[in-house]
Amino acid sequence: MEILIYGTINSVALALYALGFALVYGICRLPNFAHGALYVLSGFIAWTMINTLKTNLLVAVVATLIVTGIIGAVIYRLFLIRVRGMEISEIIASYAIALAILEGLRWGGFRGMTYTLPVFVEGSMTIGGISVDYQRILVVVVGAALVAGLWLFTHYTRVGLALRGMAQDERAALMLGIDSDMMAVVAMGMGSMLAAFAAILLLPLGNIVVESGYNVLILAIAVCIVGGLGSWMGAVLAAFLIGFAQILTVVYLGAHYQMMVALLAIIFTLILKPSGLFGQQKELEERV
């Protein structure tokens, strides 16, 4: 039972880490290596709003989502647009931005173990003899709602359809009058908001530390590679595969090997099926 419960929670957490990264890559083929840094930054923004500006939790959540979204959009407009299409440069530039954010936070005094966000619901309940706290249940419920919401957004709204058009064929989308740079700004803003969303949901379970930015990035990349770069549904499925594999590893082999699961998943995927589970475009390239 604990495998089912905590496997699901772990999988949803991984999906939340990865969704923003998958969305940005899926739409504008931009590997945003600043994703983990934006996750940590949004945690500190929320913390500052609650503890320094003394705003209530709901205001802090909304403001954090908006501010992080704007930061993501600005990062694209000011820096990443200049290297757009040059994949190695995109990786280097976005990783440099990540370093600047994380090291800037550290330099600014955001270090130590005492930065935390409040949980939305206090308390715990027992499911099948296993105690689970409400915040973790909330993570699963909200995570599922978010995936459903994203699907609806990309299938039934004009902006969502434009984003999908970009994801499928950027040149064709351009011919149809879709502003690809504007859509990339929107995608980057949305990807950053998703990072903030994950932070607001998951950070109350622990504490906000600068170093977690690197871990979140590694996990997001692992999920996206296994799922197939650019595929959001692939990312969700991969999150469940890796999430349950991690929990099974902890139960039967030991927690020590937990991090290896994600790294081994990357290695095996690249050896056996480099396009990942749902990486259709890359798969076509592989066949050629």
Binding site: Y6, N10, T114, I130, S131, D133, E211, N215, A255
Partner: protein, 423 residues
């Protein structure tokens, strides 16, 4: 009138001379103390603050008497980053070498903080003949064992805080008390995947089994792990009564939050548990960390009356930094500067071999008891009585306060159990 003028002139002259004499210490070439520390982490920044406070106090008193000349101390810090996950040991070695070559450090105090990095730095210290006093982090018994095994090569290395074997002894003294009082017999061990923690966890497992404890499990978590639920459930399933924790990563706070949220009926007993050492732990866990025990290695890192100097230091630190001494490395880093000053003054020189000889003869009453080094291994001599040696300190979070519960000679309270343990 004339006598009043003469008196005034005399007072002015004395004042000028006094100013000149204290200024002359500052005018002399400073003795550079290099501090290789992981400054983004508790064990790094508290050590830096401890060293800085001691240097400020010593310089305010005129500095260090080196063969009749008063010279001030000067601190140089380089971030070793050795407590960060994924940062190679070579980074810390570069920091040590840079302190020696670029910053021209005369002595080293502090780290490297991670045991692996400190061990790797030992040959560098002998290469450059730099006396180093390790004051924070480094808990591996191998450090002083290496000095004892190869004294001529590693004689420049000293450690002024307790090490893993002391911590193990202190833990079992408490476990024995808990067994006698509540009949506890089931022990679960959780450790971080780093040298000192892995090693100590294995030692605890062996010793506990020998002492008749039922070790219900040993889980080793990678540095940076953020979910401990399965390990905690294993502890609960096996009727564990004590969870022994060895972790210095910030995420250890998550473990304790999960312990509370899941209402695990076992006492969290941290040996190294950096998150719980800090005064901010209570707020960071919204009080969920109540009943957590942790070892801050030496007295003075939590309030107690171990020696007359303990609370004097505690208050001076709090006044200077606006926060109480936060954990392992604070009082030991502070005392290392005073011990070095004492050794330099007795040696009358900065010559490393003479200072080593003087350090071996150190015998002074400090913040955490009587400070002496074992002349063969250069490890500070531990004791449970501050009059005999360096005393440790185990605290428990009780009602928002860090209450020292061990050793009995300096305890300010007794261990309490969480209500959901039903004892």
């Amino acid at each position: 009138m004339k006598t009043t003028h003469a008196k005034l002139m005399m007072i002015l002259l004395i004042a000028v001379l006094m100013g000149l004499s204290s200024g002359s210490a500052l005018a002399e070439k400073p003795i550079v103390i290099g501090c290789p520390l992981a400054t983004a982490f508790l064990y790094g920044w508290d050590a830096e603050r401890g060293v800085t406070l001691a240097i400020e106090e010593i310089n305010a008193q005129g500095g260090v008497d080196v063969g009749g000349k008063k010279r001030p101390f000067k601190i140089e810090v380089i971030d070793t980053r050795d407590l960060e996950p994924g940062v190679p040991v070579s980074e810390a070695l570069l920091a040590v070498e840079k302190l020696i070559l670029d910053k021209e450090a005369d002595f080293l105090i502090g780290g490297p903080v991670r045991s692996e990095a400190a061990l790797a730095a030992m040959p560098l210290l002998s290469k450059y003949k730099k006396v180093s006093i390790v004051t924070t982090g480094v808990l591996t018994p191998k450090y002083h064992a290496m000095v004892a095994e190869n004294y001529d090569k590693f004689k420049y290395c000293f450690r002024i805080h307790g090490e893993a074997k002391n911590l193990v002894g202190e833990i079992f003294a408490n476990f024995a008390d808990l067994k006698a009082k509540y009949g506890f017999n089931n022990l679960f061990i959780i450790a971080q995947d780093v040298s000192h923690a892995r090693g100590a966890a294995e030692i605890i497992k062996k010793v506990a089994t020998k002492k008749g404890w039922n070790v219900t499990g040993l889980e080793i978590y990678p540095t940076g792990a953020t979910d401990f639920s399965i390990g905690l459930l294993k502890a609960k399933k096996t009727n564990t009564e004590i969870i022994n924790i060895w972790m210095d990563m910030p995420e250890s706070a998550i473990l304790l939050k999960q312990w509370y949220d899941m209402q695990i009926p076992a006492l969290p007993f941290g040996s190294t548990l950096a998150a719980a050492e800090q005064p901010g732990f209570w707020k960071a866990t919204d009080g969920k960390g109540e009943y957590t025990l942790c070892n801050v290695v030496n007295a003075g890192n939590a309030p107690s009356n171990a020696t007359p100097w303990t609370m004097k230091f505690y208050e001076a630190y709090t006044k200077r930094w606006g926060v109480e001494p936060e954990g392992l490395g604070t009082s030991s880093s502070y005392m290392a500067v005073y011990v070095l000053k004492d050794a330099i003054e007795r040696a009358g020189s900065l010559d490393p071999d003479k200072v080593v000889a003087a350090l071996e003869k150190t015998d002074m009453m400090g913040v955490y008891g009587r400070l002496r080094f074992d002349p063969k291994s250069h490890q500070v001599i531990p004791s449970t009585d501050p009059k005999e040696g360096a005393v440790g300190s185990i605290l428990q979070w009780q009602n928002g306060q860090r209450v020292v519960v061990y050793p009995k000679s300096i305890a300010m309270g007794e261990i309490q159990l969480p209500p959901w343990m039903g004892k």
